[in-house]
Amino acid sequence: MVESQHSINTILSFGAKSVKPEILEQLLVGRSPAANYLFKSVEGIVKNGNNQQILVIGQRGMGKTHLLRVLYHRCQSYIKNDQLVVAYFAEEEYGVANYFDFLIRILYALIRWEDIDKNTLESKLEELQDTNIPGQVSFAERIIEDYIADKPLLILAENFGDILNAIGTQEQGKLRAWMYQDKRINIIATSQSISDDFDKEDRPFYGFFNLYYLKSLTYKDSLLFLTSLAELDDRPDVVEHLKNKGKAQVKAIYELVKGNHRLLVTFYEFLKSDTLAKLSNHFIKTINDLKPYYETYIRYLPPQQQKIIRYIALSRKPQQGTIISKNCFIDQKSLSKQLSELVRKRLIEAITDQTDKRNKLYDINEPLLRISIEVGEHKEGITALFIDFLAIYYDENELTDKKLKFSDLLEKCESSIEKKEFQYEIQAIEKALSLKRYETLENTFISSEILNILFEVVKQKKYKEAFSILEREKHNIDKLNYSNILFRLYMLNEQYLEAKNLFLKFSDEFVEKKRLFALGALSFSQLVKTENSESFYLKGIEIFEKAEKNGEGSEYLYLAWGNFLAQFATIFRKDEDLFFESFSKFEKAIEYNSMNENIYIELAQWQFGLSIRQKDSKFSIKAFENFEAASDINPKNIRLFKLWGGALGFSSDYNIKDDSNRLKNFKGKFKLLSFKDRVSIWKIFSNVPYLYLLNNTYSILKIDIKHSFDELQHVLVDWINAILSSQLDTLNKADLTFLRKIAIEFKDKIPELAISEIYIDTYEDYKLNGNKNAIYELPKEQRLFFESKILKQPEL
């Protein structure tokens, strides 16, 4: 090896190729799997006699050079043992115009790195120079073949995409042909992207390489990488800093450099010197260090593309194609070609214009690229950039904190020069603070605009549209807000299962912050009919409790909670305590809003249920009181009367102590309902065997039937059949006499009641008189009905 090797300082100036291999190995953070994979491939070449062609793809600064350097170092023992020949190309192989040039580069690489054979190779090269032109290619091939003899050749080349592009398709074909004819040629190369030369069917190297994509470092890797740099740099103070407060700064740096190795190295310098004094000096230094790096990004671009980049960078915000075209004096047709080229090179990004979805806006892809371009161009000098940077790098609290500290320093400072400098820092921080506040406002504005639109749509219950708006604007809303809105939309659209599942994915921290426990609990309470495992209930209860703890108590929370507990107690036959707990939640709900009749209705329902379970009138009394209370609040609640009437019916069947006032109160309120509402309630009553209720409400029903015969003619037939069919209790003679009376009264107008009368007679004969043959008096179809529906005998 002839290149000299340097210490950590070299990597700090991006010279991976000449840094000591041990240092590079130490800095392989996040790239070890890649290095191991490549070396394993080399082992396969040497030990198994395999061939390998691998292309490592990664953007500028992602550590490709570093990786090849490490690989080259790891190959040393094979090279020394004559098991492998490596042609390690220079990072930028300029001027490779054809296949022959490529062969020459192999020879140059061998001469550069193989000390022992240098002279032999050089004399061969001279011989080649003397060969006539047509024979040079095959002669060069032969020199290489003779040199490697039976050993495998490994070509390590960077920017291989550029090399292929430069030599063109036909010459690539020659290279490929050579690789097929001379069996032991291996290439491990890097490229910034996959160009057509690797990707198009008519190109020789189409689908030829195993691809390995380098990924950006994660935040964790970035922190580790910077820590390794600090360790190698012998800076225990920085290492310590990175374990504590520095973590947040690395997060900010990470946001800026997106896990790019080379940029992390630059920001290491910034981090290292980020003491209190004079941030601006370090910033200027960092930017100046970065400038040449970014200059290489644009230096070799065609002039039109340079113009576009410069214009967008200096505009400082995304620009429309038409505006770019106008300002850069480029016609639309050429512009769209150049823009798509720049997008492909990942120098700019295309964003959909929110004001007109058909349009695209273009912005510089990396914030630091913009900053670097602005240096030297901006009329305010570097100050504006510094302010920008501060706003990106620190959060509002940190900036305020820094401002206070600089103000302290200013007070204590005596030197007038230093005073000026501190004043500059303070002013810059103040401007950064106001910029930050403006940005926050702007973001809120964008989000609230979207929310307004959503709100309007939701108000009209167009949930489907709301979902599609939310999906479309996803990128304008931060992820958590998006989930929050989505969750709420699920709830509104009664997609409780989706809501619950999404809710369970939220972190407690988020739910707490956004006060979503109550809604989450509500999603559980809405799913009791479909999900009823014990664990489901226990989880639900846990969320209700968290909601209460998080101060999300409301009448709705306690109402839902009460219902949830009562449901749980009923399904799993829990003891009364759980019912009592449920009732206490309803009471709490009433404390929040004593004028919500639904709370009373729900509570009354569960109280009545418990009294039936206990066969005790204690809770039924409370239940009826609550029904009455609900009717006082809203005397027109149909659901209330259905449930209240039902409870009355049940109370006689379950021998719950009668209270004549109950009926009186019920009937009094029931009469006050509109005719239409009563009709709907009669229809419900007629399907259940409430003889007691029929008996006690018949006077009202009679009037209603007379009032509107058409609507209620089936109610009596159905109701009598339902009562006869009830298996709860055998009807007595008096009951049947009452029913018969009704049938006779209306059978002229409702012929079906004549049949009902026959059923009543048959019932009496069969059940009360024990005449089992009574059913044979019925015509066959009536007998079958009587047997299956009233006697409930299985059909034959």
Partner: protein, 414 residues
């Protein structure tokens, strides 16, 4: 019975002694080559070149199957890719055949004298690096020199009582490139020699294998259309189509890959191999790609889940689409736009069908008025290896040749 050996997944070159599978294909090829020349056509990345390299390796190392020992086959592989004119082709032939002198003592003196007589170039050195044919004024005689070179080889061959297989890999693509550069006359010259003189050369024991990812027919059709070319240079040549690996071949390749450092639970291995075979359709490119992904994305762990996940990447991740993109590229590059659009439509419909679909039914589902044109496009897709065909009771039924291509087309194009 071969024993598996460690082999790293690769989709590039493989040393000739490590190319696995294809034994049956080689037997079939050699049987054909006893009596005639052969044309091998398939899409790219199907393993054509590796098959031919293996064929040459077996013949030249006396490792050919027992039934061919008496035939005394020798073979020479030439890749014509990137050769820009007949001069370069001849140069390649002569340079590469130098190795054969040891076996056959090919005497190039006739050619040498011939060139010397015509051009009076005293310094020409046949078989060495100084062989020069690139001066424009010599162009008119390349045709003769080319034949002369082949004749030299054939004359020597005739004495050996054996057969010499000359494998011209990427011949059609080379001709296509010449055509694109306006050098069709040269291309036609080469085709003419191959047409007029092949039988003479074959009598002396020379066999040709033309191989290419675009069919030689595509080139000939273009020449016929554009230059009224009427030659039939591939007449009487048997077409040989490459099949996917059999399950045994696929298993063997997987076993080799596994030995290069993969982890697999012993009780799951057979299932995994079956899965790889099923998902890859036995195409060695995809077997290798699955293993490459297993090493780079799944830390060398072979499990049923990882194999499925790798397959998902192949189908869904655009970074893995390069070998599929040829399905579109080929249509764009080698056919006029209207034909391309028509074929795209056909493939869109077929990608959504799980079974063979009848030609007439397809006609009703497609926005192509001209039934003849549809038939022609179907035939092109069939001969270009996109589709396979069944004929039942005189009716033609088509479907995608490979399930993996169908899946990709359905997910990404249709």
């Amino acid at each position: 019975m071969q024993t598996p050996f460690p082999l790293l997944p690769t989709i590039g070159t493989i040393p000739e002694n490590q190319i696995t599978g294809r034994e049956q294909d080689i037997v079939k090829l050699l049987r054909l080559l006893r009596s005639q020349s052969v044309s091998v056509e398939e899409m790219r990345r199907m393993g054509k070149s590796l098959l031919l390299l293996k064929l040459a390796y077996l013949c030249n190392s006396n490792l050919q199957p027992e039934e061919f020992k008496q035939d005394n086959f020798k073979a020479k592989y030439f890749s014509f890719q990137g050769k820009q004119n007949l001069g370069e082709v001849i140069n390649l032939l002569i340079n590469e055949l130098k190795d054969f002198k040891e076996w056959h003592q090919i005497d190039f003196s006739k050619t040498y004298n011939f060139i010397k007589d015509i051009f009076s170039v005293p310094e020409v050195e046949i078989g060495g690096a100084k062989f020069s044919l690139n001066l424009p004024e010599y162009k008119k005689s390349w045709k003769d020199i080319f034949f002369k070179t082949l004749e030299d080889i054939a004359d020597t061959q005739a004495k050996t009582n054996g057969k010499l297989i000359l494998i011209f890999d990427e011949l059609p693509i080379m001709l296509w490139e010449w055509y694109k550069e306006g050098k069709h006359e040269e291309a036609i010259e080469l085709l003419d020699i191959l047409r007029e003189r092949r039988q003479v050369l074959e009598k002396k024991g020379i066999r040709f294998i033309y191989c290419g990812s675009i069919g030689i027919k595509v080139v000939l059709n273009t020449f016929r259309k554009d230059f009224k070319y009427t030659g039939e240079p591939t007449n009487e040549m048997e077409e040989f189509s490459l099949k996917p690996f059999s399950e045994n071949e696929s298993d063997f390749l997987c076993e080799c890959f596994i030995l290069s450092g993969f982890n697999v639970a012993a009780d799951e291995k057979q299932l995994c191999l079956k899965k790889v075979y099923g998902l890859s359709n036995g195409l060695p490119f995809y077997i290798s790609t699955i293993f490459n992904l297993l090493q780079t994305e799944f830390d060398y762990n072979i499990t049923m889940n990882n194999i499925e996940a790798a397959y998902e990447l192949i189908i869904n991740d655009t970074k893995q689409h390069k070998a599929f993109k040829q399905l579109i590229d080929r249509l764009e590059i080698y056919y006029p736009k209207d034909k391309k659009d028509e074929m795209m439509q056909i493939l869109n419909i077929l990608s959504k069908e799980d079974h063979f679909i009848e030609e007439e039914l397809l006609y009703t589902k497609i926005d192509i008025d001209n039934n003849d044109s549809l038939k022609q496009s179907l035939y092109t897709l069939l001969s270009d290896h996109y589709l396979i065909r069944q004929v039942i009771e005189g009716k033609r039924y088509y479907k995608f040749k490979y399930q993996i291509f169908k899946e990709w087309w359905k997910v990404n194009i249709a």
